[in-house]
């Protein structure tokens, strides 16, 4: 049972990892091969470099939350609630 939960968590982790890898890879490759695209200002006069960069940071946070949420759904390791020093 323990192993099944671990495997499921690991699978969710890997899927999210590959999604983020695509986002990050997109950012890095646009910077490297089309730097002028990053200079365009698609929203509120702010350039794509800043918007995409902020987007990556916010996406990391949201995906981390999602991961935490999905893993908790599996109901594992209950004893770790509010560990005391």
């Amino acid at each position: 049972m323990e192993c099944a939960v671990e495997a499921r968590n690991a699978r969710i982790g890997l899927v999210l990892f590959f999604v983020y890898l695509l986002l990050y890879g997109g950012f890095v490759f646009i910077n490297a091969y089309s730097p002028t695209t990053m200079e365009s200002t698609p929203f509120a006069g702010v350039n794509l470099a800043i918007l995409y960069g902020f987007g990556l940071i916010i996406a990391a946070f949201l995906m981390a939350l999602l991961y935490g949420f999905l893993c908790r759904e599996r109901g594992d390791e209950k004893q770790s609630e509010e560990g005391q020093p």
């Binding site: 671990e6 968590n9 690991a10 982790g13 890997l14 999210l16 990892f17 983020y20 890898l21 990050y24 950012f27 890095v28 910077n31 490297a32 091969y33 730097p35 990053m38 200079e39 200002t41 509120a44 006069g45 702010v46 350039n47 470099a49 800043i50 960069g53 902020f54 990556l56 940071i57 916010i58 990391a60 946070f61 995906m63 981390a64 939350l65 991961y67 935490g68 893993c71 594992d76 390791e77 004893q79 770790s80 509010e82 560990g83 005391q84 020093p85």
Partner: protein, 618 residues
Amino acid sequence: MTAVIIFFLFVAVTLGLSFYLGSKAKSSQGYFAAHGQIPWFVNGVAFAGDYLSAASFLGICGMIAFYGYDGFLYSIGYLAGWIVALFVVAEPMKRLGKFTFADALDARFQSRGIKLAAGISTLAVSVFYLIPQMVGAGALIKPLFGFEHWVGVVLVGSVVIVIVVTAGMVSTTWVQFLKGSLLVVFSGILTVLILLRGFETRSGGIDGYEFKTLTVADANTLTDELAAREGIEAVEQLTPENPNLQIAFVRTRTKDAATVWSYDVDATENVVLREAQDAAQPLHPIGTISKLPEGQSKAGSLGLLSFFSTLQKSEVVLWRNQKVFNPDGTETRIYYQKPTPGSEVLRPGEHPVFAGIRSDEPINKLNFLSLMLALFCGTASLPHILIRYYTVKDAAAARKSTIVGIASIGFFYVLTLYLGLGAMTSGAIDVSNDNMAAPLLAKSINAWLFAIISAIAFTTVLGTVSGLILASAGAVTHDLLTSVFRVDMNDHSKVRVAKLASVVVGGIAVVLGIIFEKMNVSYLVGWAFSVAASANLPALVMLLFWKGTTRQGIIAAVVVGMVSSLGWILLSGDTYGKVYGLDPADAMVPFSQPGIVTIPLGFLTLVLVSLLTQPKSS
């Protein structure tokens, strides 16, 4: 004076807390892993404390303040690395290990070879990561007390050795928690103050000195025209070291003083001379906006996005430096103005490290790709981050604390762009050292804030350095002495040997911190990430995800990854130019960042060696 008192108060409280908590941990389990009893939330913020080192705070802000957007690429890469840590490594690591990274690698095989390789790689990465922290320490002490760089480095080194020797993982964790929270909170406050202050056009920094601009009609008669001006008694042409530079230099002498100027021809064919600074003279603070949109002289309180859109349409005076030769053959370093459109400041590719993305040569783009790959892969392989997984109770707590870590670190990294650009336009920057930009930005707002920010940054350095030294001490005692050389030690002597190792590693860090004074700390951290990612990540990931991994495969991957990345760095153009003082063009490797070659090399080595050494029964 107030600043100094606040600073000492802050540091004293931190140290007091550290000693108090340290006195509670006596066993080696307590010393290295805080008995595995740190609450996950505290551990998560302590992750931020560990991770937001001098490099993040000082280096990134400094790089943004001098070059614009490029420093933010480090923020993005450093944060993305946490994704690998959380989604791939966190939980299995927690389940595998006990004290150190080597424990985790060795969990399946019980091999002395793995312990040896992993222990040495932990030491190598920690020492590499220690250098920028120590350089950062020197940069902090200088503006606050006026001490020389080396005094700052020695001071931090001594304090940290005292902390580590008297304390251990419990106190280090709580200090990191305290420091991580303060750093994030005060950076937030600083950002709000920057936005409220807005932008203002100026021709000089906060010391009130205004840099002059002269216009001359014809470049061919420049010397004569200047000599004819009032008060100027002599004019000397200066020869820049770089013959391809688009800008030229001249020095004028009046009865009382000498002034250096840079000059170039503007759009109306006039020669514009801008006052420069001679490194041999006392330097004035810099960091100004020369033009705001629609000819305004002030753009008052700005929003989160209008901060960027206003800057996008402004012109900022950046400063560059160049070694020049005087007519008598002696040499001087000149800092000169480079008015730059905001749209260029806010785009990637202005810093020399990232300039390759604007070149047509594919090889130059590789350097950028390589660095971004190393940042992405490096976090999950840093020994001092990995040991933090052992300070919590179980895998779920490891996961939760990583999420808290990502939240605090991500928030902070968003702020770095505001802080860096705020520093760029603060009028308070030291033109000779980009590592000091963040504390000096606070100084431009008020002295209290300056003291608090400096103290937080100082404790940041203390905390990160303590964590790294602990990781190294753990590697020496636990991995090398106990497991590899089979030295029989009881619990008490293990802790004693670890403390001795801390003193030695601390000493080495101090020496290296003095040698590398002039390098941007974020850049140095980039190297540490490359070594960590090349040496540790292939072994860690394959062990977790490939059943065919063998003992020999792990040892080979760690050794090949470590040696190849270190070798690459030592033979790179950047090291040739900045460390050996040689011509970067003579470097033996085609670009400076090793990751894109050495990380795959580590994986390849592991797979090949594992395939060759599969157990016979299978």
